[in-house]
Structures are given as structure tokens and as C-alpha cells.
């Protein structure tokens, strides 16, 4: 991983259920340009993470344990969760 410059943000990305199966991982770290939004994280994930191409273009996403829209801005240290269709109840 490259040295993190101030112009980047570092995110922890949590994966569950089918999305964990896609990648074989429950967590990945992402380093993105400052100013990135959730949609940028999704595009990065689909293009960079092995198996990530199976992620939908518009998945459900939570940031710091709250449901958010894809245009939500991200900050360094955010906990981003990619949420497969939920099946509780």
C-alpha cells in the first residue's frame, strides 16, 4: 500500500453474506482520493477487489452504521458496510 498522503482518505469496508462470499473476505481497507463519495467506493470495489465485480452497481450501503445514499461523502476513518439484500424477520 502506498503512503497515505493528506489528499487521500482511508476506509474500512465490511462485507457480509453474499458479498463476503464474492471476495472470500469479511473486511478490506480502501484508500481513495479525498472528496470521494460512496459511489466512488463502490466503483473502486468493483474494479479493484478480487471478486468485487460481482457487487451490484447500486448496492445498499451503510456508513458508520447508518443507511446512506450513494452520493454520501466519505471521510477518513469511516466504517463502510456493503449490505446484501436483508433477510431478517
Amino acid at each position: 500500500m502506498a503512503t497515505v498522503a493528506p489528499s487521500t482518505i482511508t476506509l474500512r469496508v465490511l462485507l457480509f453474506a453474499t458479498y463476503a462470499d464474492l471476495t472470500g473476505r469479511q473486511q478490506v481497507d480502501a484508500v481513495l482520493p479525498a472528496g470521494s463519495r460512496v459511489s466512488d467506493l463502490v466503483a473502486w470495489f468493483r474494479g479493484t477487489v478480487p471478486g468485487g465485480a460481482g457487487l451490484p452497481e447500486r448496492p445498499l450501503v451503510a456508513v458508520n452504521q447508518r443507511h446512506v445514499r450513494l452520493d454520501q461523502p466519505l471521510s477518513s476513518g469511516d466504517e463502510v458496510a456493503l449490505l446484501p439484500p436483508m433477510a431478517g424477520g
Partner: protein, 148 residues
């Protein structure tokens, strides 16, 4: 939570002398899904967010209706017949009790990050995707409730 749910205790928890009615829902593990024979299942959760969303749903229900609400959802391994979810809503009258109970169950399905892995009689297993079952109108979790 990872221990069995007692719906009677849940109802008792929301009843006080002023309450005239308690509506409850108990969701069980059934032995079939989408035409397949189900033996057992596992609920997996994004635990911290699931607990926060359940708490938010209860609080929102108690703001929308004059009721007291209790909600529990299992995680981990369950077998057919086990209780997966229980909701109790106690109001002074029946209308708000029924309405709040139903609303809470629907909100859980749409907003709480819990996933279900089913194990079938033919030896296969799969994650359940409600958006691919006979349930085409699964709403956006951001639209499902009136967010605080």
C-alpha cells in the same frame, strides 16, 4: 440475541395497568422456502448496526403511536419451529397496538442488517435474497421509515 425468545415474557415487558391491549407477532423458522424443503438456517448480522436499527425502530414506533414496544430477533443457528423474531406492542386500545406491531415487523425486514442462510433437505445451502422471491416491492431502507 443468541438465546431462545419467550414471546410471553416480551408481552409482559410492555404491559402496564393503563394498557388495554397487546398485539404480538411471532415469526418461526418454516420448513419450506420458494418450493424447497428447509432443514435449518443461520442468521448472520452486522451486529452493532442491527442493534442500533432495532432500537431506532422501537423508538420510532413509540413516537408514531401511543404504545410500548418490545422487539427481539435471533442470530445464529436455528431449526424448523424455532422462534426467529418476536414483537409485542401494547397500547390503551387495539388499533394502535395492531398497527404498531405490524409496522415494526415490516421495518425489521427492510432496515435491519440481518441475513439468512438456509440449509435444504437436498444437501445444498444458499443465502436468501428477498428481492428474488415473490416479493418484488422491497423498499429502499432509507424510504422505509420516517428517519429521525
Amino acid at each position: 440475541m443468541d438465546h431462545p425468545i419467550d414471546p410471553a415474557l416480551l408481552a409482559k415487558a410492555v404491559l402496564t395497568a393503563r394498557r388495554g391491549g397487546v398485539a404480538s407477532f411471532t415469526g418461526l423458522v418454516r420448513n419450506h422456502q420458494d418450493g424447497r424443503s428447509v432443514l435449518r438456517l443461520e442468521y448472520h448480522a452486522y451486529s452493532a448496526m442491527a442493534e442500533a436499527e432495532c432500537g431506532a425502530i422501537v423508538a420510532e414506533a413509540e413516537r408514531r403511536w401511543p404504545v410500548s414496544v418490545a422487539l427481539q430477533h435471533r442470530v445464529g443457528a436455528l431449526v424448523v419451529g424455532d422462534i426467529a423474531i418476536a414483537v409485542a406492542a401494547a397500547g390503551d386500545h387495539r388499533d394502535e397496538s395492531f398497527d404498531a406491531c405490524r409496522w415494526v415487523v415490516e421495518q425489521v425486514k427492510h432496515r435491519v442488517p440481518i441475513w439468512k442462510r438456509e440449509f435444504y433437505a437436498d444437501g445444498t445451502e444458499a443465502w436468501v435474497d428477498p428481492t428474488r422471491l415473490n416479493n418484488p416491492l422491497v423498499p429502499d431502507p432509507l424510504e422505509a421509515g420516517q428517519r429521525g
